[in-house]
């Protein structure tokens, strides 16, 4: 007779674009924070592999340099690595001492890897004890709107992260889409017409420039 074995397998459902961000409570360099503390703000949650490492240091400096501008865009920054809060405190003090940059945003000390696992920040074939370079952009309703993953050896581009945020906020405000390489001030894409009638009408809309019924752009005023 065949023996049947029951096995419990934990299946983690990772956050995807459009899904609510997983809620968490975590120790940070600014005390215990919950994701819900950020409701009403856009949030860029990013992970880095380890404190006191060179690429991560350049990224922290880059994130801090754009932090004031992000705040003016109703956006907060929150870092994370699988290091202790004491390591984080020592590292940010070291960055200030050696590089003259004060890190003002909180950094999660995710020693239990709870947040890292909830967000899928660990790439086991790269490392199962360090997070990869993940970026999650969440809107004020705490829905995941964009995700970026970089490998541990390659630093992220702050200008692209900022450009992405501006594009998301612009798309939300004006109900448009943005073309490849879009930057603020350039023409935006009018989303495709949902009906035959609207597809015909938009070809005569003086505000649009249309190559064809499915490809129209406009200026944002």
């Amino acid at each position: 007779m065949t023996e049947v074995q029951n096995e419990n397998v934990e299946v983690r459902s990772l956050p995807r674009i459009g899904s609510p961000a997983p809620q968490f409570e975590a120790k940070t360099t600014h005390g215990v924070l919950k994701l819900e503390d950020y409701k009403g703000k856009w949030l860029i949650l990013f992970s880095h592999p380890a404190d006191f490492t060179p690429v991560c240091t350049t990224e922290f400096i880059g994130f801090q340099k754009m932090y004031p501008e992000l705040r003016e865009m109703n956006t907060e920054l929150l870092g994370l690595s699988i290091d202790s809060v004491h390591s984080h405190i020592a590292w940010v003090r070291n960055i200030e001492e050696k590089f003259g940059v004060e890190i003002e945003f909180p950094v999660i000390a995710d020693l239990t890897m709870d947040v890292a696992h909830k967000f899928g920040m660990i790439m086991p074939d790269e490392s199962d004890t360090e997070t990869s370079r993940a970026v999650f952009v969440m809107d004020p309703e705490q829905v995941v709107r964009a995700i970026i993953y970089y490998p541990s050896a390659i630093g992220r581009n702050m200008d692209e992260i900022k450009r992405l945020l501006i594009a998301l906020q612009t798309a939300d405000e004006h109900k448009i889409a943005t073309p490849a390489n879009w930057t603020k001030g350039e023409r935006v894409i009018v989303p495709p017409a949902p009906t035959q009638e609207l597809a015909a009408e938009r070809m005569n809309n003086p505000e649009y420039e249309c190559k064809d019924f499915y490809f129209c752009t406009k200026e944002i005023k």
């Binding site: 600014h30 005390g31 215990v32 924070l33 919950k34 819900e36 503390d37 703000k41 907060e76 809060v85």
Partner: protein, 76 residues
């Protein structure tokens, strides 16, 4: 945490928030506006201050406790 955690110290940002709620109870949004602190810091800060008994909740609002008011006056 190893070697315990200092629960009695008040950071400068916490003192600023407590100063705003000495006279009357205020919501997190009001505290953020008046103290000029980010809302996430006010929400988590007030949670910690309530746990450490430096503040008390009154519905959706927060107010400094009597012992906190006495301490802030003494330290002023």
């Amino acid at each position: 945490m190893a070697c315990g955690t200092d629960l009695t110290a008040l950071s400068q940002s916490e003192k600023v928030m407590l100063a705003v709620i000495q006279e009357e109870a205020k919501t997190a949004d009001d505290i953020a506006k008046e103290s000029k602190q980010p809302i996430f810091k006010v929400r988590s800060g007030m949670r910690s201050l309530v746990e450490r008994e430096f503040a008390q909740e009154e519905g959706e609002a927060y107010r400094a406790t009597e012992k906190t008011i006495a301490r802030l006056k003494k330290e002023a």
